[in-house]
């Protein structure tokens, strides 16, 4: 039972993290290859405060604010560059974050911060908190999607220039997307720190950013349910298939590639095609640069 609780907690945290990226990339079309930096910002903030005896629950908003501040800066940068340039810039941000953390002993340097105290709620209690937060944000995402803000986001994702011509303050909305998405990633980070009880620069590198992006894309970019499912599955898949231990990375990447090759609109797309009576938005073809 104890092990199952651990798995559920891991899943909940991954779902929250993936949904936060979905907000930025899926809803608003701003591709981010460095999202793990915000998970890291939240995790480190929470870890350091917790070790300074700040109660766990108070570290969560602190983590969110810290990550969101960083996110706002990146959001501002996203106003300058677009598409592929944005992708690489966000990747650069990810490396920069890790590179700076690595060098400063204040953050534990290369070695990271170990011995993060327990959340104080016990394993079961902590799991419930994580699930609650994940569900709350999922509900929020669904709500936003049907709201005016979601509509603007989609418009920006589809065609930024046209949206601007329509008189909408595109910059403001992009920034909002970034702030909400990264702040939420920060919350996921706080949970992460108290679940794994250890944070280090290697935990938030390029591989993490790609993994969470993969969760969003495999789920179906923009689809809340798809992302929840994909995140839950992909986060615990490595542990479940440990019997193919030596080949697990090969299996994982093979699966990812097959997904892209045969069903690029993700699991959501697969479901749509299977149950094609449910009306659904058609994935954007990204017609700008081709």
């Amino acid at each position: 039972m104890s092990y199952e609780i651990t798995l559920m907690t891991t899943m909940a945290i991954s779902v929250l993290f993936a949904l936060s990226l979905n907000f930025i990339t899926g809803f608003c079309g701003q591709i981010s290859l460095g999202h793990a930096a915000f998970l890291g910002a939240g995790a480190y903030t929470s870890a350091m405060l917790s070790k300074a005896d700040v109660p766990f629950l108070f570290t969560i908003p602190a983590a969110a604010i810290c990550a969101a501040m960083l996110g706002a800066i990146i959001g501002l940068a996203s106003l300058r560059v677009r598409h592929d340039f944005l992708a690489i810039t966000t990747m650069g941000v990810g490396f920069l974050f890790v590179g700076i953390i690595r060098q400063q002993d204040f953050f534990g340097g290369e070695i990271g911060i170990a011995g993060i105290p327990s959340s104080g709620f016990g394993k079961g209690g902590f799991m419930l908190i994580c699930i609650a937060l994940a569900l709350t944000f999922a509900a929020f995402s669904l709500y936003v999607r049907r709201s005016w803000m979601g509509f603007v986001f989609k418009s920006i994702a589809d065609n930024e220039d046209v949206t601007r011509v329509l008189g909408i303050d595109v910059s403001r909305y992009k920034l909002i997307a970034f702030i909400i998405g990264t702040g939420t990633a920060g919350v996921a980070g706080a949970l992460y720190a108290h679940h794994f009880r250890f944070v280090g620069p290697d935990s938030f590198g390029f591989v993490e950013s790609i993994s969470v992006l993969a969760m969003v894309i495999v789920g179906g970019i923009g689809s809340v349910w798809g992302v929840i499912f994909a995140a839950a599955l992909l986060s615990v898949l490595p542990m479940l298939v440990q019997f193919i231990d030596d080949y697990k990375l090969l299996f994982y990447s093979g699966l990812l590639f097959a997904m892209m090759r045969f069903s690029p609109d993700g699991i959501a797309g697969l479901c749509t095609r299977l149950f094609s009576s449910i009306p659904r938005r058609v994935p954007d073809n990204g017609g700008n640069n081709r």
């Binding site: 591709i31 940068a77 300058r80 560059v81 677009r82 598409h83 592929d84 340039f85 992708a87 690489i88 810039t89 990747m91 650069g92 941000v93 490396f95 920069l96 890790v98 590179g99 700076i100 690595r102 060098q103 390029f206 790609i210 992006l213 993969a214 894309i217 970019i221 030596d246 080949y247 990375l249 090969l250 994982y252 990447s253 093979g254 990812l256 590639f257 892209m260 090759r261 690029p264 994935p283 954007d284 073809n285 990204g286 640069n289 081709r290």
Partner: protein, 288 residues
């Protein structure tokens, strides 16, 4: 003296970056795909170089074989992985490319073992003393020399031959080129062949400099090359070359003098972000 050495090392490293990044920029210019899996071809080149040298004793043969085989592998990669995805949004080919890259690292590890391979008797390990105390390894001279030759060959091909003209036309305006009878498919194959074989050359040279090929040797190259092509201006060959050499030298001095603030990779990206904020299209990029 020290500065001269650092500068030359920067150029050597930059030449390697150039050989790798060139393939990446060629693919981007033609297809607008961020070909992360390119680094896998770099690694493959390194492995072939070591294996053939150890088997036959001839480094030259190894270089030629590596470039040919990997060139073909690149074409295969295009056919199997990218062609089916051309009509999809760009992030699809990006993720597919990344998945391919991870898979290839694993395949190398499973096929060749995790220990890495070394030359039995590494060629060109000697050095010459140019002037008092300043040593230059033969291998380093080869790196700079070979990259220059390959770049010149490429320039000649693209400027002075029919194939080259057809190629440039396709990059500029595919529909017009098609109208003139250029076989787009062949241009794409050529593109991948050349880019991949350059990466293979880089792999063989790196194997020579380090006397070690490992399954994960491409990981740094994969994202650094991306940073370089963005820095140079996506799609601009000249920009890529300048950015590669510039970055090589920057890293060389940077690791010594600001190494306590930022690690090596972070230096590259910090510089990139700085440039992009000032000039969003990169150093030599055209209109956005």
């Amino acid at each position: 003296m020290l500065y001269l050495e650092l500068f030359i090392q920067g150029l050597v490293q930059g030449s390697i970056y150039a050989l790798i990044a060139l393939g990446l920029t060629l693919v981007y210019g033609l297809l607008r795909i961020l070909h992360v899996a390119h680094a896998a071809l770099f690694t493959l080149g390194g492995y072939i170089g070591v294996i053939v040298t150890n088997a036959t004793g001839s480094f030259t043969l190894a270089m030629v074989v590596a470039m040919l085989v990997v060139g073909l592998a690149g074409m295969l990669m295009y056919k199997l992985a990218y062609e089916p995805l051309l009509s999809q949004p760009p992030y699809v080919s990006l993720i597919a490319s990344i998945a391919l890259f991870i898979a290839s690292e694993e395949i190398f590890r499973i096929a060749f073992g995790p220990y890495g391979l070394s030359y039995q008797t590494a060629p060109l390990q000697g050095h010459i003393e140019l002037f008092s105390g300043f040593y230059l390894k033969y291998a380093e001279i080869l790196v700079m020399g070979l990259s220059t030759i390959l770049m010149i060959a490429l320039a000649w091909l693209s400027m002075q031959t029919r194939t080259g003209v057809a190629w440039r036309a396709t990059v500029t305006d595919p529909d017009m080129a098609r109208a003139f009878g250029v076989k787009i498919q062949n241009v794409r194959y050529l593109n991948f062949f050349i880019g991949s074989s350059f990466a293979a050359a880089a792999g063989v040279l790196v194997a020579l400099l380090n006397n070690l090929v490992e399954p994960t040797m491409g990981s740094v190259a994969s994202y650094k090359a991306l940073a370089i092509i963005v820095l140079g201006g996506l799609g601009s060959i000249r920009g890529t070359l300048i950015a590669s050499l510039l970055l090589g030298v920057l890293e060389s001095f940077g690791t010594i003098y600001i190494g306590h603030l930022l690690d090596r990779d972070a230096i590259a990206f910090a510089f990139l972000i700085l440039v992009l904020m000032i000039r969003p299209q990169g150093l030599m990029g055209g209109k956005l």
